[in-house]
Symmetry: C2
Subunit: 200 residues, 2 copies
């Protein structure tokens, strides 16, 4: 049984959204599962004392153009959210809690969060918005509300983010196939070739 592909992402990261729309179908073509792992990119940037691409000096305009162009290139609907970047603790904690019961439900929820942000321009930093998204998918709103405010979910997300940094992650999306790291939605073609050929 081949190892799952690890897929690290932040719900506020545009290229994470683009990869999220593609990664499971890509992996499935090679009989692979994907293990989704939301992390907090803010903590990663803090660790390395860096910033997001759009805040790099002189790079913001190009970054915005590239995000929208890459989305069109991949055929994924995309509108730059009016609030960006946003904190994603609520969505990430919800994901891990949902995943304990049902991985498929957690992934559908994650895609719904991404689309709420990048298609509908909803403020996914709001726990209420996150709960609305979950409720629309038939998830128990009160139970999820309790979970995302609990110590366990908070601790889990912190632990996942720290483990990702310790492993070498410095950006998102970050995919790992049999120990080989791929950074960025633009590395999906290489990841595909890697799966196809068992490395190259």
């Amino acid at each position: 049984m081949p190892l799952p592909i690890d897929f690290y992402f932040d719900f506020s990261s545009p290229y994470s959204y683009l990869a999220a729309e593609k990664i499971d179908a890509l992996a499935a073509r090679f009989g692979r599962e994907v293990s989704w792992r939301p992390i907090l990119l803010g903590a990663v940037f803090q660790h390395y004392n860096t910033t997001s691409l759009v805040k790099q000096p002189g790079q913001g305009d190009y970054a915005l153009r590239d995000m929208a162009r890459e989305a069109r290139f991949l055929g994924v609907p995309f509108t730059m959210p009016s609030r960006f970047p946003v904190p994603t603790q609520a969505a990430a904690r919800a994901f891990y809690w949902l995943q304990e019961d049902d991985v498929a439900v957690a992934k559908q929820f994650a895609l719904a969060v991404f689309r709420a942000f990048y298609v509908e321009d909803k403020d996914i930093s709001s726990p209420q918005v996150v709960l609305d998204i979950a409720a629309a998918q038939g998830i128990d709103r009160a139970a999820l509300d309790a979970a995302i405010h609990g110590a366990e979910a908070k601790e889990r997300l912190k632990r996942e983010t720290e483990a990702a940094i310790a492993m070498g992650l410095f950006g998102a999306p970050w995919m790992v196939v049999d120990g080989e790291p791929f950074w960025g939605a633009d590395r999906l073609p290489q990841l595909e070739k890697w799966l196809e050929a068992g490395g190259f």
Copy 2:
């Protein structure tokens, strides 16, 4: 007559080398010429107070892995030079001087410099090495020697680099198609689609 594609690069930039091996053939498939424009990435990084990818905190190991993998992905021979990065004034000045007489000769010289650095591990920061490469191509060594030490070549390179920064360039390779900027060898597939569809 369609506009030429502008191709900005630094001889010390690995991804510039990879793009250089591909860009003319790609453009030719769509009836386009490519205008090659070496610049000094060091001046660009100084302008933005940034550094090369391999010097970004925590990113060096991944960058080295990615460069070699991207080269294999594109089918281009690549060995990380033992001295890296290196100053590229001599090669860049030589290019502009050669280009005044014969664009094809200048491009062949540029590819030879790239290959000397990324295949043969030669120190292309050395004017003598640059002159050796040129001489092996039948270029007048003494005339080129005089040119690369002259004020005109120095001024030309400075002007090209400043113009590139003023235009918005912050990294290399940087390609511009009908006003649309593409940064990175990994954007060649998007550039190709852009040429094919006249934008997307």
